[in-house]
Amino acid sequence: MANVYDLQNVSKVYRNEGKEFTALRDVSLSISEGEIFGIIGMSGAGKSTLVRTLNRLEDVTGGTVRFYDKDLALLSQRELRKVRHSISMIFQSFNLLGQRTVIQNVEQPLRIAGIPKAQRYKKALEMLEIVGLTDKQNVYPARLSGGQRQRVAIARALASDPKVLLCDEATSALDPKITGEILDLLKKINEERKLTIVIITHEMSVVEKICDRVAIIDEGNLAEIGEVREVFRNPKSAAAKKLVFPSNPFEASDPSRNLIRIVFDGLASERPFIADMVEQTGKKVNILSANTRSVGGIGYGQMVLELPESAADQDIIIDFFVKNGLSVSEVN
């Protein structure tokens, strides 16, 4: 499949009153057509800068960003504006025009592209139908909830028939339930319209839910990149571990004890693993954190367990999990 984006050694250095700040350092990655690509990192890691190099809202100070083999840095302002019609973007703060109705907001990119009024209206209505807000077309954004506003922003972003949709922390201002709905909508759009989506987030749950691949950005560096499943199961970099491991497990009862993390990844959720383990081996573990869910009868998630003191017992327990197809990794 063709690559939508090819980034090579992308760097961004801000210079301010003689001081230099490196926001991105030698980032190279490719995003292929039709995938949902996640870019995750702590705040200040440089992920927002990275997504802004994808439509040249930020100029790079080194390296190249190619969009369908076109080096964005070489485009004139006029050419760049044209290319931007096929790169839509949605934002954390929605950025809708407060003084314009929902339908006028959705029509905006079509107006910029110079499409006649009647056609614009028809297309905008179509987009509102996709996001399920046809009845709100003449309402002002102030009257809508956060989730509805983001839906309008999505409709607006789709109106110009883009080749790629950039989402900059698009769900970070929304509560978990609405976040889930927006992510489902994005997934649906990705599948039905074969639209490539790039998602910037600081929440691993967003990446787990809809992304195919993920890049982890840490202090301006690309720390890790790969299939979401693989990174979740076996994070290699410290930054990835920090994001993937539960952020607030219980303290271990004894700091010298060994902790392990077991990952459920597509196993039957009706099987009670911990109970089976205790029954069959007679060993006990202390559950410090569990974050599991069943999607269509299949279990996903992870647990952090505190192991007994004796090394022999530990081996028996780890052995049991490995034999049963769970991936086990040591925590610290």
Partner: protein, 217 residues
């Protein structure tokens, strides 16, 4: 009060309104674009251009720091050049306009600065040109704030128009000065003052109301 004076006051009200209306109108026709230029050429904005911004900003600051009464006198030759006379209602419109332009420009600039940067970023990401962004994104978003500023500006012009009476301008100011002050007719003085207060209040309140109506946020 004699009938003659009542007639003069009536004319004064009309003259004051004419001066205020045309001065404000012309001041906005010139001041609004200047405000837009001030806003968009400042650092980090759409058309960032330091020389233009500094030059225009300095010019406006100088004009704003001149007391209006001094400006009235300084502009007499210019007024005579434009209108052929330096006294009367029409002539007063010239210095009033010139004095209001810098105030309008600064007021417009500050209204535009209230527009969320995110909205401009969204517009840029849609491939809009700087001019399109100003006309279709920034100005509409700033409209309620611009109207609010306009109400304040028009009320200020009304106050300034009374001052024009000093150098032979028409309107309520001239009447207050001639009959009320020089001839010690206190009733005329207070009547004109009351009328000015009422006019300012009407302008301010109705302006505020219109601004509020347009605000959809």
């Amino acid at each position: 009060m004699s009938e003659y004076i009542i007639e003069a006051i009536k004319n004064g009200v009309i003259e004051t309104l004419i001066m205020t209306f045309f001065s404000s109108l012309i001041a906005y026709i010139i001041g609004l674009p200047l405000g837009v230029i001030l806003y968009s050429t400042s650092g980090g904005r759409l058309l960032a251009n330091r020389p233009v911004n500094v030059l225009l900003g300095t010019l406006i600051n100088i004009m704003r720091s001149l007391p209006f009464l001094i400006l009235l006198v300084l502009l007499i030759p210019f007024t005579r050049f434009v209108t052929g006379s330096s006294i009367g209602t029409v002539a007063s419109i010239v210095p009033l306009t010139v004095g209001t332009i810098p105030i309008v420009a600064r007021m417009v600039e500050s209204s535009l600065e209230e527009v969320q940067p995110g909205i401009i970023e969204a517009a840029e990401s849609m491939g809009a040109s700087p001019l399109y962004i100003i006309v279709h994104f920034i100005l509409p978003e700033a409209t309620p704030s611009l109207l609010h500023g306009a109400a304040i500006n028009v009320a200020t012009v009304l106050g300034y128009s009374a001052m024009a009476g000093v150098i032979g301008g028409g309107g309520l100011g001239a009447i207050a000065l001639q009959y009320g002050y020089y001839r010690y007719q206190k009733d005329v003085l207070w009547t004109t003052v009351a009328l000015l207060v009422i006019l300012v209040m009407i302008i301010q309140e109705s302006g505020g109301l219109i601004a509020k109506r347009t605000r959809k946020i």
